[in-house]
Subunit: 416 residues, 2 copies
């Protein structure tokens, strides 16, 4: 175990007892001070970021990745604004979620408490450092952040600025932590820090998520793999179907709630497939279809088993013609990752069957899968989208960063 | 991967899609049929149990363990009664936990759904086979049970009887499963059955729990380790304190919510320690105390660091004299396992500080820790007591065996 991890871990655990008891006003004030400090120290952040960018350029990093890494005064302003928005959200801590009495006179209640120490392992984007710290602080959780090596100078600068501002504003020391050691082995040690880490959330690509699933012995929440489907039923409003399929595929193909497979009812396919093919090809989307699709439009690439399983995150869409809504549901439940699934239909019975039987975090009728998002759901924030079924499913806001504690008030009761 | 595990796993996953849509009446009727069948097939169960008992006796198993393994007509009746009680509990599935509209016209709701496939790894007691199956069935979850080798004949008989009764009553085949292969390697494979097992709950001793924590790659809920404390404050009602400490220690020392360490305020110790020592020694409890304790009662055994950490599950109690409530809280937060903690006090400020600052699933004022239990809390059932902070904390009833799904109804909305 590295010295840094062990030391920060123990201080984090200690701090978590104190932070759990800090009032909303102190937390909000600290968040405002953090927002101010980020803007005030723009120069420091940009200098650190320049070191990261230089190293990345020397390594021949792709322009898209460089752009994710790059900070500008505008982006720093946007991070600070993000922190201010967290101030405006209601504090979930201390909420009494239930209160009841027992026949023996015991008075029970369950109250929302922080989870404790939340570790987050993430990749290149330095804005996650600020986002995650703000959401955890507001929900009374201590953060133990481990960002990628590409952004290490930026992350250290951001963390120093946040720590200074927060601790001066009454937040217990040790509440905000960044693991500066970016070795892979250290990340694996963090995944096994039982007794200190109460929850680990990975934020990044499939490889990172898989490494966490395989290695972690602390509780985790799996996030973000999204093999999402849109099913165009018969009968449906085909104009609406074109609009939704196009939006779900091309509005932002790189994200987890973008559509990867289009399913089409066989009766509507002869009309709908040519129409959607024309629109998507204009948007530079490559289609890969089942044999039935290719009997309608021969120059569609053939789809293989792999295509049904793949989250392209790109301008590619797999297309399959299905018998009916039950067939569509069976395909989805076989291949999906439990993220977001949509049906386009004008038949209420089909809509209800789809809502009931599809196994996913979010199931849509006549709307784009792109809405699965903490902000679009109205949660005001998001630390990730859970694709597992325990603790939190779908977009995770502040409430999903809490646990409960049972308080029991008696007058001398003993068990008989 | 063993053939049996893979085959049952896949059928379980398929069945979980169907069982999720089965109505309450069908599930309740199946549970009643299971209860009837258990009684009807008492002879079959007892014959199978006799094989387990014989094997255990030949291996020289301790009488206490033999007793846990043994079934009698009365115990079978009690199991059947337990199943009938689950019928009377409200079905959590389908409950709309929240519904709201967004400014763009999307109508959102979150609805309770089953978790899916729940694996349970447990030790000798065959009644867990029936308990767990009944609770999972009522909450729409498919069970994948893996009991200990000691009870394998009993478990197979119980499972066959339950399957026959349930499937004849309309429960989808594959909803109730027992892994007959009791090899340790098979249990480890079950812990890594990602994509099939949605949640794994270990029920058993510390060794089993640790094996699951270390090996599992599927989501788990840690249960049942309980290093529980009672803190006797100054001022307090010392008669009440004697009654509660005695109850928490000796009413059933082998269980996870029994007290393991007694903390006493230094001002009350000279009076209280001799009093409680007398009572506990009459009950055959061995005390192990800090140096201050031994300065009051010299013939108390000295406590070591180990004693503060140990869950004895036996007639032993560690005793420590503390400065004040803050000192007691610090000791508890350092050594406890997050289960159940109690303060005995007549000072409301101390009580509130204890409730707020102690980090545990259940925190008590003037009552015994022994009440941390699904039945005592009024949940009507219990599948275990969670000592982790995500998904469920404390006693887990039917509600804790559910997940949520977001349903989103639109009229053609796309994201801008």
């Amino acid at each position: 175990m590295t010295e840094e991890l062990l030391q920060k871990g123990h201080l984090a655990k200690e701090a978590s007892r104190k932070l759990a008891c800090i009032d909303t006003q102190t937390k909000n004030n600290a968040l405002l001070k953090i927002a101010e400090a980020l803007i005030l120290h723009t120069e420091k952040i940009l200098s650190a970021n320049a070191l990261d960018l230089q190293a990345a350029e020397e390594k021949g990093t792709r322009p898209a990745m460089l752009d994710r890494l790059k900070l500008t005064p505008e982006r720093i302003l946007a991070m600070a604004d993000g922190v201010k928005k967290v101030v405006a959200l209601p504090d979930p801590i201390g909420e009494i979620t239930k209160a009841w009495d027992r026949p023996n006179g015991l008075k029970l209640s369950s109250v929302r408490v922080p989870i404790g120490v939340i570790a987050i392992i993430y990749e290149a984007r330095p804005n996650v450092t600020v986002d995650a710290a703000a959401l955890c602080l507001k929900s009374g959780n201590v953060t133990l952040l481990r960002g990628g090596s590409e952004a290490i100078h930026s992350n250290i600068a951001l963390m120093e600025i946040m720590q200074e501002a927060a601790y001066a504003a009454g937040i217990p020391e040790g509440s905000l932590n960044l693991i500066a050691d970016t070795a892979r082995e250290t990340a694996v040690e963090l995944m096994k820090l039982n007794g200190i880490v109460d929850l680990l959330i990975p934020r990044g690509g499939a490889k990172l998520i898989q490494s966490v699933v395989q290695n972690a012995t602390v509780p985790i929440i799996e996030t973000a793999a999204g093999n999402c489907h849109v099913y165009v039923d018969s009968p449906c409003d085909t104009d609406m179907a074109v609009s939704i399929v196009t939006n779900a595929k091309v509005q932002r193909p790189s994200v987890c709630n973008a559509a990867e497979t289009l399913l089409i009812h066989k009766e509507i396919a002869p009309v709908f497939l040519p129409e959607i093919t024309k629109v998507l090809r204009e948007k530079k989307v490559e289609l890969r279809g089942c044999p039935l699709c290719r009997s309608i439009i021969p120059n569609i690439f053939p789809a293989t088993e792999d295509d049904w399983e793949t989250e392209y995150n790109d301008y590619i869409l797999a297309v399959k013609i299905v018998e009916n809504v039950s067939d569509a549901i069976a395909h989805i439940n076989r291949y999906n990752t439990g993220h977001s699934e949509a049906i386009i239909t004008t038949d209420d019975t089909h809509a209800e069957q789809f809502l009931n039987e599809v196994d996913a975090a979010a199931v849509y009728v006549n709307a784009s899968t792109r809405f699965t998002d903490g902000f679009e759901f109205g949660f005001g924030a998001e630390i990730g989208i859970s694709t597992q079924k325990i603790h939190a499913r779908g977009p995770m806001g502040l409430e999903q960063l809490t646990s409960v504690k049972y308080l029991v008030r008696g007058t001398g009761q003993v068990r008989g």
